[in-house]
């Protein structure tokens, strides 16, 4: 079996297997998988409203996925995307409602503020790692909690004790009447264009710039990077900050696009954590992350339709969606199986002596 064929077959088989196991779960719980999947499909592509909402749901996943992937590629585990995203959301919501700036410029300033907020939030674990060798995983996890409650407190302070911030000014909004009218007044906003730009920016930084070369080098081998004259500490901090900036802009999408404000959160949004799965689904490649986010966002949004249209409880929906993603992520196993099956036993070990 040729490599190309395997590359195409793996995701296809993964999705089919996920759908089959999901169907079994629905059958066992007494629901019709046919109705369930029809509802899922309609929830994603059913009409232009659903398509609009699907794209809107995908958008923040692109950013959280990029944030995680960027850190992975540069040798860091950023588990704090959630917190960085929340801080970005807060910053954008604040700038959007507190300042008066010309249309467009206002949005840009708000997005930049979100990037700075996310970047700063990631700077703390970065500098701790670089200077004191504190493991970034524990710091970023704790920073998530701090972000959540700091943001809630800040919302109270900004709004004078209310549960949410005031709506942002129109000048900062990413919403578009044209996009809304195109999609039966879904909440689709211009954020998806920024998401695609972000994908290109990450690709450009990693594959084209000297900075990306350094970041990757430090991620792979700190000793050799130091030997080669790179500033290892600076690169560790920078890797975290850039990762956090992607996360922060993801938060701005919620502030300036979806909601137009920020409300107090009872718990984490989940977007940041799902970003880990999105990044891994996309093999930490910028364009892979885009595909991973599309799968994730589409299933999430389509799943919302399943309780209404097919009477399947949200818990079952979550299980089915998790199963599909699980099988896509375990594509490695399927690849292994295919390679075994195709009898090409040529284990691509490096030849002979070391």
């Amino acid at each position: 079996m040729s490599n190309r064929l395997i590359n195409i077959l793996v995701p296809v088989i993964s999705v089919i297997l996920g759908l089959i196991v999901g169907a079994i779960v629905m059958l066992v719980s007494g629901f019709s998988p046919v109705d369930g999947y029809a509802a899922l499909w309609n929830g994603i592509f059913g009409d232009s409203y659903n398509i609009g909402e699907t794209i809107r749901t995908i958008t923040p996943y692109v950013f959280s996925g990029l944030a995680v992937a960027f850190a992975f590629r540069t040798g860091m585990f950023n588990i704090g995307v959630e917190g960085q995203l929340i801080m970005g959301w807060l910053a954008a919501a604040y700038v959007g409602q507190a300042f008066e700036l010309p249309t467009g410029i206002h949005a840009v300033v708000a997005i930049l503020a979100a990037a700075v907020a996310g970047g700063l939030w990631a700077f703390i674990p970065g500098i701790l790692k670089a200077k004191l060798q504190v493991h970034e995983v524990i710091v970023t996890i704790m920073m998530n909690y701090i972000a959540l409650h700091t943001a809630n407190a800040a919302i109270s302070a900004i709004s004078g004790g209310k549960e949410k911030t005031d709506k942002i000014h129109d000048s900062a909004s990413l919403s578009s009447e044209w996009l809304a009218s195109l999609t039966q007044f879904s909440r689709l906003h211009w954020g998806f264009v920024i998401a695609i730009l972000a994908v290109i920016i990450m690709w450009f930084i990693l594959e084209k710039t000297a900075l990306g070369y350094e970041l990757k080098s430090v991620g792979f081998n700190k000793n050799a990077s130091e030997y080669a004259g790179m500033n290892v500490s600076r690169n560790i901090v920078l890797a975290m900050v850039i990762s956090g900036m992607f996360a922060g802009v993801g938060g701005a999408m919620e502030a300036l696009g979806t909601f137009g404000n920020m409300m107090k959160l009872n718990a984490a949004t989940g977007i940041g954590f799902d970003g880990i799965a999105v990044a891994l689904l996309g093999a930490n490649q910028p364009f892979g992350v885009l595909l991973g986010a599309i799968l994730f966002g589409a299933l999430k949004n389509g799943g919302l339709n399943m309780p209404n249209a097919a009477g399947i409880p949200t818990e079952i929906v979550s299980i089915v969606i998790a199963l599909i993603i699980f099988f896509v992520a375990s594509g490695y196993l399927i690849r292994l199986f295919l390679e075994r099956a195709s009898k090409k036993k040529g284990v691509q070990k490096v030849k002979g002596d070391k």
Binding site: K208, T209, A210, L211, G212, Y213, E214, K216, S217, F220, N221, N223, A224, S225, E226, Y227, A228, G229, M230, N231, G346, V347, Q348, K349, V350, K351, G352, D353, K354
Partner: protein
């Protein structure tokens, strides 16, 4: 002749690549049989076939006259075959006994009977003259003793056929001669040994017969007593090899590197370099001879900026470079072939081409305005790959996939290509075969002849004697003597390395 192992017509393929093609190796009972070949010739593959890690595509294996199929390493163990690996497989914070019983712990009511095991280990150690303390922790004992623990491990499991994979790679000269004694003792106790190596001197010293393989092909088996190093080298490489690197008299000029009263601490805060003075002039190779761990690494790291000096002064062409950043030092004209090519020399997950640009990626013309021109990097890489005979499918192959010799050639190409005024070569030929060693030595001398200063650090006396114009012997953090290769002997160097300062009057030429 009675054979304990016969590997007949072994063929092993990896996809399209034939790693072993029709190789025959017959190990007689009670002999030391050397398996000789360049890096990548297929020695390890052959041994992995014998050890059950790979299944051969063709050929038969007989153990003590009976045809067997060795399906996995456990089967090999059962047949009495034991392997002493090049990279020791020991748990650092376990004792010797704990390491030896690992995987076959003797248990009594579910608890490990460590005393019993230790007794057995001690007895084996005495029987074979290994001199190992069964209760010592691995992290506290020398490399030589760690290797003897590996030997004990195989004996404990009842092996009577021992495979030694490059056993001398990390040993000092003294430890090597001890190992040779041990191997002879093992033979006298009825064991048989396969010795994998590419060091001709050892083969001549210990082996009874030699099987040579080249590029996966069996070239033949010869009796050691009837051959010579030259013949072996030619069989191994496939052409004539020059051992004694020919070089003209050095014509040193102005001082390039000057180290004055340098002190350096290691990571644990222990003084490693103590009031060290050293000068390397343009047009000469200064070799630093010494036993591993006498401050060589810290000295090099201090010169190249990887480690801060606690006091003292380092100048390059008269400019002070003490404790500057590595990049500043690199830019001011220092090339560095690092001691550990995997740790410092290469980013193994990068393509070999990217590695060749490791210090220059940000400079014009490879980079402009922070944007890298990967086409130019590839071009540079291809030139160096061509010029330094780096054997790789392409510049895009990950560095990890290259053999050690080719990785090293790439590093040397990269460092020499930057045309540094001072080239530091730390153990540049470690683990390489004669062909690659010859190549690297020639390159070092070439740099010298171009009027560059070369600082060579090596644990191999041959290398220091052959290549250097001046030998500085390091012991316990300072240079205890500086001698000319023509006016010293290996014995004298050995004494100096062990810290016996030789008074000038006793400094006889070639003294026994």
């Amino acid at each position: 002749m009675e054979y304990v192992i016969e590997m007949l017509g072994i063929r092993k393929e990896f996809g399209d690549f034939v790693a072993n093609d029709n190789i025959t190796l017959q190990l007689a009972k009670g002999e030391i049989h050397a398996l000789l070949g360049e890096n990548g010739a297929g020695k390890s593959t052959l041994m992995n076939v014998l050890f059950g890690l790979y299944q051969p595509e063709a050929g038969t294996i007989k153990v003590r006259g009976e045809e067997v199929k060795i399906s996995d390493p456990n089967k090999a163990n059962d047949l009495g075959i034991g392997m002493v690996h090049q990279h020791f497989m020991l748990v650092e914070n376990f004792t010797v006994t704990e390491n030896i019983i690992l995987g076959s712990e003797p248990t009594k009511f579910g608890t490990i009977n460590i005393k019993e095991a230790a007794k057995k280990v001690q007895k084996l150690s005495e029987q074979y003259g290994l001199n190992v303390d069964a209760y010592a922790k691995i992290e506290d004992i020398s490399v030589g003793m760690q290797q003897r623990v590996e030997i004990l491990k195989t004996l404990y499991r009842g092996a009577d056929i021992l495979i030694f994979d490059e056993p001398t790679a990390s040993l000092t000269p003294q430890e090597i001669s001890e190992l040779i004694q041990i191997m002879k003792r093992l033979i006298s106790e009825g064991k048989s040994i396969i010795l994998i190596t590419h060091k001709l001197k050892e083969i001549m010293d210990v082996s009874d017969r030699v099987t040579i393989i080249r590029k996966g092909q069996g070239i033949g088996t010869v009796t050691t007593a009837e051959t010579s190093p030259d013949q072996l080298a030619e069989m191994m490489v496939g052409r004539q090899v020059v051992f004694k690197t020919t070089k003209t008299e050095a014509h040193p000029k102005e001082a390039i590197l000057e180290v004055h009263q340098l002190n350096v601490k290691d990571n644990r805060g222990v003084d490693r370099v103590k009031d060290l003075n050293l000068t390397v002039r343009a047009g000469e190779i200064v070799g630093i001879a010494g036993i591993d761990g006498n401050g060589q690494s810290e000295l090099i790291e201090a010169i190249t900026g990887l480690r801060k000096a606690t006091s003292g002064k380092i100048t390059l062409k008269g400019q002070e470079i003490t404790s500057l950043k590595p990049r500043k030092i690199t830019e001011s004209g220092v090339g560095h072939i690092p001691q550990d090519r995997h740790k410092h020399g290469l980013v193994l997950d990068f393509p070999i081409g990217h590695n060749i640009a490791l210090q220059t990626y940000y400079q014009n013309p490879l980079s402009k305005g922070g944007i890298i021109d990967y086409k130019k990097i590839d071009k540079l890489a291809e030139t160096i790959i061509e010029e330094y005979d780096v054997r790789t499918p392409s510049a895009h192959t990950p560095a990890r996939a290259l053999s050690g010799g080719n990785q090293q050639k790439a590093i040397i190409g990269r460092e020499v290509n930057r045309d540094p005024d001072l080239l530091i070569a730390a153990l540049p030929t470690r683990g390489l075969d004669v062909g690659a060693i010859e190549f690297i030595h020639r390159r070092l001398i070439e740099q010298r002849d171009k009027g560059k200063a070369v600082l060579l650090v090596s644990f191999e006396l041959d290398e220091v004697m052959n290549v250097s114009d001046e030998i500085a012997v390091i012991h316990d953090g300072h240079i205890i003597d500086t001698v000319k290769p023509s006016e010293t002997s290996e014995q004298q160097l050995g004494l100096l390395m062990a810290g016996h300062a030789v008074t000038k009057t006793a400094n006889k030429v070639g003294g026994e």
